[in-house]
């Protein structure tokens, strides 16, 4: 075959292959470099702090490498209990978000309305304002003289001397604000998975005698599960390490694992323990993501 090729073709192919060989590392180089510089190296530094291989200059003296901070943390510390408390809060928030966002996404995707993308835009409109502003707005709503209490005073259900004070600076406030902030993130992946649903399956279910509820339960819901799982993770991962919202509306019971990490770095100057807590969180989130991705095939969300 090579004998039939005109002279000069083989070198051209070789040159093209060489170019292709260079293209792959060229394309991958930037993201890989980014990953190394802004993820792997910082994580390694945090890892070094966690075993005291690196330490703050304000603590001079001998610093042998030690796993003490890891042992203290995993040995049933208050920090570990706080982690599970934060996981519980995040699970509730994520579940709540999915429950609230699913009907909205369902309506937008399957109701056949022509204005679904306009409505979708309305849904994500709060994202056009700053995160901080949206959280602070809840202080105005939930405060002792806020919108909710003023309404209760107006209706006579509560006296101005006795407002509902548990609304703000509480665990309830943290979960409410987090749910509000993350709902659009949840609605989007569910909308995508429902919007790409093959409508003929619903018609077939109907032809075979399924009621609307049965069609939803046996067809729509199972097919939208990858979107639901992705949505759940979208909320769970950032909220389990959240610290801004609890700092602003948390009070005495809304203190979360993320606040603990921030305090260790900023207030206690205990970067060793802070690094342990940060790496543990990273590890748990990575494992959870891998498990969900492996068994529930989140990739289907993109594939539709």
């Amino acid at each position: 075959m090579a004998a039939d090729e005109p002279a000069g073709v083989a070198p051209q192919i070789r040159a093209r292959r060489a170019r292709l060989d260079l293209t792959t590392p060229g394309l991958l180089g930037l993201p890989l470099g980014w990953l190394v510089v802004f993820f792997l190296i910082p994580i390694s530094i945090v890892g070094a702090y966690s075993v005291d291989a690196l330490y703050l200059s304000i603590y001079p003296g001998a610093h042998p490498v030690t796993l003490d901070a890891w042992r203290d943390f995993l040995g049933g510390s208050e920090d570990l209990r706080l982690f599970w408390k934060s996981v519980k809060m995040s699970l509730i928030v994520s579940g709540l978000c999915v429950l609230l966002a699913y009907p909205v996404a369902y309506y937008l995707a399957l109701s056949g309305t022509k204005r679904k993308y306009v409505l979708l835009l309305v849904l994500i409109a709060p994202f056009l304002t700053s995160y901080l502003l949206r959280v602070l707005a809840w202080k105005v709503i939930l405060g002792s003289q806020g919108v909710v209490n003023s309404f209760l005073f107006w209706t006579g259900l509560r006296s101005p001397d006795d407002p509902v004070s548990q609304l703000l600076y509480s665990r309830f406030a943290v979960m409410l604000v987090l749910a509000y902030v993350w709902i659009p993130f949840v609605a989007l992946p569910i909308f995508v998975s429902l919007d790409s649903l093959d409508r003929r399956l619903l018609e077939a279910a109907s032809d075979l005698g399924a009621s609307r509820w049965q069609a939803f339960w046996r067809v729509t819901l199972p097919l939208s599960i990858p979107g639901v799982v992705a949505a759940f993770l979208f909320v769970f991962i950032p909220t389990v390490g959240e610290f801004v919202t609890p700092s602003l509306v948390g009070g005495n019971s809304g203190y979360m694992y993320g606040n603990d990490i921030a305090d260790l770095f900023n207030m206690s100057l205990d970067w060793e323990t802070g690094s342990v807590l940060a790496l543990f969180l990273l590890g748990v989130v990575a494992v959870l993501t891998a498990v969900f991705a492996r068994f529930l095939q989140v990739r289907q969300v993109a594939a539709g």
Partner: protein
């Protein structure tokens, strides 16, 4: 070697000297005029860039360093804010290099030993002679003047007189079950010191592990009465003004702010003794602007700045010539009492040797 020479040497690095030589040589060749070279020398030896100040929110207002702006018009310092001394140390450990930072007296030793600050040259601070000698001494560490005292005041209790009927003027007000959900604690390990005083621990600043456990247990058991742990004074003031809080661990400025909002409030020193403090301006170790830094601290030390601070923030000022306009304020700040900050009138903020254990215990109180 004179102090002026010290500064000159610090400012002129080898690179600067080479530039000077080049400019001077070039100017000589081109114009032969000594004045040109002199101007170049002035330009290159002048400190450049805005003064970087790591300070507490509220202290960025120009009235507090007016003479500095007069000396360097158009060179308003650039402020970064700290929420506590630990927060400042964390920022500096992470690479922030301020020219000026303001820890309080209990942290003089921590900062001096941290390697992030250097002593001042007292001869370059003309107003130093008017500062309270006791406070000036409190800013020294190993015989060197690391801190120049400025603002001072108390950690005490602020409460609404129309809502709260105290059984006793004591730190117990911060633990009072009758006002559960209306109380604010400061988000700082000093709460353990307060608990120590309340429990009658012999030295609340150097509690043993067993004593710290007792203090922690007390705070944990009363945590449910707390509405807010405040780290930002503004947050606390907003919550207090909105009626979410009736009792708070507070500073004198909070009392003034709430009075100005028309609330019926009292600011009281508990019978166990308030905690007193003195703000210390410190100079960053490798500051490239030592002259500006000295001018800034001198401006803060002036009678003019001190009077403004007292009138507007209700904090005392180390300048003994500064006096507030209001006699009420004069009395409330005990400005005529030379021992206002000292035992037994108040417990002055001091070095805590096992600060890390205090910090750990305080975190555990919040996490519980």
């Amino acid at each position: 070697m004179s102090d002026g020479q010290d500064l000159m040497e610090r400012r002129l690095s080898r690179e600067d000297l080479l530039k000077l030589a080049a400019v001077a040589g070039g100017a000589g060749l081109l114009a032969g005029r000594a004045s040109t070279a002199g101007a170049a020398v002035d330009r290159l030896t002048a400190e450049s860039g805005r003064l970087q100040v790591l300070d507490w929110v509220g202290y960025e207002v120009p009235q507090l360093y007016g003479p500095y702006l007069k000396k360097y018009p158009g060179e308003k310092p650039q402020f970064t804010f700290m929420t506590s001394e630990s927060n400042a140390l964390a920022k500096m450990s992470a690479g922030l290099e301020p020219d000026i930072v303001r820890p309080y007296v209990g942290y003089v030793r921590d900062f001096a030993e941290s390697g992030f600050v250097q002593p001042w040259n007292p001869k370059l601070i003309s107003n130093l002679k008017d500062l309270n000698p006791f406070m000036v001494k409190a800013g020294q560490y190993k015989g060197k003047q690391y801190g120049i005292p400025q603002d001072w005041g108390f950690d005490a209790i602020l409460y609404r007189t129309d809502k709260v009927k105290p059984k006793a003027i004591s730190w117990s007000l911060l633990l009072d079950e009758r006002y559960a959900g209306k109380i604010a604690w400061w988000d700082d390990l000093y709460m353990l010191v307060v608990a120590g005083y309340y429990l009658g621990i012999k030295n609340p600043w150097q509690q043993t592990s067993a004593e710290l456990k007792r203090s922690q247990k007390l705070l944990t058991s009363r945590k449910h009465v707390v509405k807010l742990f405040w780290s930002s004074e503004t947050d606390m003031q907003n919550a207090f003004a909105a009626g979410d809080l009736w009792i708070a661990y507070a500073w004198p400025a909070d009392w003034v702010a709430m009075k100005n909002k028309g609330l019926k409030v009292r600011y009281v020193h508990p019978k166990e003794g308030a905690i007193s403090w003195i703000g210390m301006l410190m100079q960053g170790k490798d500051t490239p602007r030592p002259e500006h830094a000295h001018a800034f601290v001198d401006a803060w030390s002036s009678k003019q700045s001190g009077t403004w601070l007292e009138n507007n923030y209700a904090y005392g000022h180390a300048n003994t010539l500064a006096r507030p306009t209001s006699k009420d304020l004069l009395r409330a700040l005990q400005l005529t009492n030379p021992n206002a900050l000292k035992e037994p009138n108040a417990h002055i903020d001091r070095y805590i040797p096992n600060r890390q254990e205090y910090a750990k215990r305080w975190r555990e109180v919040k996490a519980s």
